[in-house]
């Protein structure tokens, strides 16, 4: 028979005001199992805790019930008290007689009666508690960063700085991501390449950082501290160790029909190419879709001109398996395709472009070498219309775009408008907007400069139709402030298209069992208090993968994610939650039902010789990895035989509670 002590807290008058604490502790004395019962003004105070510790010693208690405030408040406090007094901390149960009793009832008799039931229920549960030991698991001291944009680079640099190895896996042939495509950055208007490329170089030269470009993560197993990833490094058909990045092959390649992804496909590139001059690694890659040699077997010019002998048409994909302690998701974003919103005429008119396309048109390394020329006839546009919120802020049922604000468009449009007015003062610039959103340091000042110094024409209203008439684009929209419908004959129309997560994000989320929202952004563990962690332990979030954000915010979040990664990698062992599922091998059918509902992949099946009373045979049985299990209990209900149970919330414990309440 267990010896249980019950400690009823007054919480000053918070509990004692509506609950007769004396009566409760008295009533508990007659509950089977209870050998000691007391009440005290503040059980959580040092004196209160001493009272508990003394009682544990004196009465040789092997379990305690504290009837007090919510366990969310002081369960940990009392567990520590118990532990200090030599009791297993999981032999503590809390009866919540404050939030769920004294505070919601006025009648003292009613409150007292309920408090007795709640305390009795906690005792009933405690009678089935078992001492639990928190386990430990080792930590592999290496991080994997998925995505090599500014977010991934910054996280990798910070983690490497703390002395840990980091692998960056980037799907494109170079790191740099979207920021590499930008011309200038707001609100300071410094050149994007000038601040990004040094970081790229730094990453490539850091001996703790290993860049695996043109690659994708194909599989991830394991759990926090102990992930194992399989990475497919796609064949570049160029030996990375030999290529010098001289780009001679590019000028000789006869196939020039590949679309230049870096320039938003506004011009062509050769089949063998380096995405841009400052690419890291600065190594060529062959596009197998375009390469004549790979497609027809005839050509081989690049091989002939390569003095380094780097070309290898027989190169195969390579599979890399590595272990990691932490994984950072920095998969970034892409602009949406505005073609379906064809009242803007994007699909039909070359001179209706997206903002990212404009970035390339204004960039010195872009298709027009930095001179702003409109795509259709390479003429200077003299009247430009910007349209905000294209595909953002839409009601989901309309299927016209994303429900969220893409956050960066107001600022980059102000930037574009300003840059154009600065460089081409003869060009008129109009911006159709719904709201101008500029929360950020120096942001509103920046927007005001666009209006006041650069004379950008902001029109509050939306565009209904863009139609080509002659060589003009007729933009019809509303001007709500002037209460009129306006029509502007523009030479160029720029759509501030919504941004969405990179298309690879969803499959990566599934692979990592990291939860995502309906827009495919990764969900943070807590919106305010744990903003850079996924609810799945060991997975961290960096950059737009978590939600729309600009460069400064991305860098800040990337460093925050790095801090969390460092905090994890700095540990030699992780303490695991002992309230996890376990399978009774004598009862397990090995039917695989539980595996289907486990959100963490914590359950595996093994063939094992099972021994028990009258049983000795090899069976397929479920095994729970306690380091991965988070203790939700989904498996316990799916299990038809009751083999699967949850420590701390066992079937017997919950049924005992049910019985005690219904007594």
């Amino acid at each position: 028979m267990q010896k249980i002590g019950v400690f009823v807290c007054w919480c000053g008058s918070n509990i004692a005001g509506t609950v007769d604490v004396e009566a409760v502790s008295e009533a508990m004395k007659s509950v089977p199992g209870v050998v000691y019962s007391a009440n005290y003004q503040y059980m959580c105070s040092a004196a209160g805790q001493k009272l508990i510790a003394d009682a544990i010693h004196e009465h040789h208690l092997d379990g305690i019930v504290v009837a007090s405030c919510s366990p969310r408040m002081h369960e940990n406090t009392f567990r520590k008290t118990a532990e200090a007094a030599g009791l297993n901390p999981y032999m503590v149960e809390i009866a919540n007689i404050r939030e769920q009793c004294s505070w919601i009832h006025k009648d003292k008799e009613e409150g007292t009666a309920k408090a007795i039931v709640l305390a009795r229920t906690a005792v009933a549960k405690l009678l089935h508690n078992k001492p639990l030991q928190a386990g430990t698991s080792a930590v592999t001291k290496r991080a994997l960063v998925i995505g090599g944009g500014i977010a991934g680079i910054q996280t990798a640099l910070d983690v490497a700085d703390a002395g840990y190895e980091v692998d960056i896996v980037e799907q494109r042939p170079t790191i740099g991501g979207r920021m590499a495509q930008l011309d200038k950055t707001f609100p300071t208007l410094d050149c994007s390449a000038c601040i990004l490329t040094p970081k790229m170089v730094e990453a490539s030269q850091n001996e703790k950082i290993n860049i695996i470009s043109y690659a994708k993560v194909e599989k991830v197993d394991g759990f926090v501290g102990n992930f194992k990833a399989t990475i497919r490094k796609k064949a570049r058909f160029v030996d990375e160790t030999k290529c010098t990045g001289c780009s001679l092959c590019m000028s000789k390649c006869p196939s020039k029909k590949g679309k230049d992804e870096f320039n938003m496909e506004m011009n062509n590139r050769p089949a063998i190419y380096i995405p841009f001059a400052q690419a890291i690694p600065n190594v060529a890659v062959i596009d197998p879709e375009q390469c004549l040699k790979l497609k027809t077997g005839k050509c081989g010019l690049c091989e002939k001109v390569c003095t380094a002998g780097a070309i290898n048409y027989k190169q195969q994909d390579e599979l890399i398996e590595r272990e990691y302690g932490a994984i950072v998701v920095a998969t970034g974003f892409k602009p949406i395709d505005p073609s379906p919103l064809n009242e803007y005429g994007y699909a039909d008119n070359a001179d209706v472009i997206t903002s990212l396309e404009l970035e390339r048109l204004m960039n010195a390394a872009g298709p027009t070498k930095g001179t702003l020329l409109r795509p259709s006839d390479l003429q200077h546009p003299h009247e430009i219309v910007f349209i905000q919120c294209v595909g953002s802020r839409c009601d989901e049922n309309t299927k016209r775009g994303k429900p969220y604000c893409s956050k960066i468009c107001c600022m980059y449009t102000a930037k574009h408008a300003m840059l154009i007015r600065d460089k081409y003062p003869d060009t008129k610039v109009h911006v159709f907007y719904i709201d101008v959103r500029t929360p950020g340091k120096n942001f509103d000042e920046f927007y005001r400069r666009a209006v006041e110094q650069y004379g950008v024409d902001y029109i509050k209203g939306m565009v209904g139709k863009v139609a080509k008439e002659g060589d003009k684009l007729m933009v019809r929209g509303s001007d709500l402030i002037n209460n009129q419908q306006v029509e502007i004959a523009a030479d160029l129309v720029v759509l501030a298209t919504a941004i969405e997560p990179d298309p690879t994000a969803r499959s990566i989320g599934t692979m990592l069992t990291a939860s995502m929202d309906t827009n495919d952004f990764f969900t943070e563990a807590h919106a305010k208090l744990r903003p850079v962690e996924s609810p799945t332990a060991g997975i961290f979030l960096s950059g737009v993968a978590q939600g729309p954000k600009d460069v400064p915010e991305t860098v800040a979040q990337a460093s925050a994610a790095a801090a969390k990664v460092i905090g994890l990698l700095a540990k030699d062992h992780l303490v695991t939650n002992p309230c996890v599922a376990y399978s009774n091998e004598l009862l397990c059918n090995g039917c695989s039902q539980c595996e289907k509902v486990c959100p963490y992949g914590a359950i595996t099946y093994i063939e094992k010789e099972v021994r028990g009373p009258g049983v000795r045979e090899v069976r397929r049985i479920a095994q729970v990895n306690p380091a991965v299990c988070q203790g939700c209990g989904a498996c316990t209900v799916t299990c038809p035989s009751g083999a699967m149970d949850l420590k701390g919330f066992a079937n017997k414990q919950i049924m005992a509670e049910v019985d005690a309440i219904c007594l």
Binding site: E343, C389, G461, K465, S478
Partner: protein, 130 residues
């Protein structure tokens, strides 16, 4: 009076099925409306005015007869507000009142010539009278 306004607003909302609170006041409806210049109150104002209970003003305005029912505002509204349905609702509320036909049968018949298609006359019967 208060009650009357409330009743009118509720009727407009009920028969149109429109929730004006979904509107984010972007003005796209008015940017796309082909009848904009013929209207005293423009589509986005219909939404705002119904939300504020100013139905009577709308009922007294010729704007309710200017809508082409072309559904461009309905189609293009990013919030799914469907302003066109509100215009229609207010128009119906007007002509359903006694002696409030915009045009009578003779007016409409007078319009017919050898080219006017039946459906245009039929549409006018529906749009202008009860």
């Amino acid at each position: 009076m208060e009650n009357h306004v409330q009743m009118l607003t509720e009727t407009a909302l009920r028969i149109s099925g429109v929730n004006p609170q979904k509107c984010m006041k972007c003005g796209k409806c008015s940017g796309t409306c082909p009848s904009y210049d013929a209207m005293e109150y423009h589509p986005h104002q219909f939404v705002a005015m119904v939300e504020k209970g100013q139905i009577e003003k709308l009922m007294e305005s010729d704007s309710i007869y200017m809508c082409l029912s072309c559904m461009a505002c309905v189609e293009r509204c990013p919030r799914g507000v469907e302003p066109g349905k509100l215009v229609e609702a207010v128009r119906l509320m007007k002509i359903r009142q006694q002696d409030q036909n915009r045009k009578n049968g003779n007016d409409i018949a007078a319009f017919a010539d050898e080219n006017v298609p039946q459906q245009l006359l039929m549409a006018a019967m529906r749009k202008y009278r009860k």
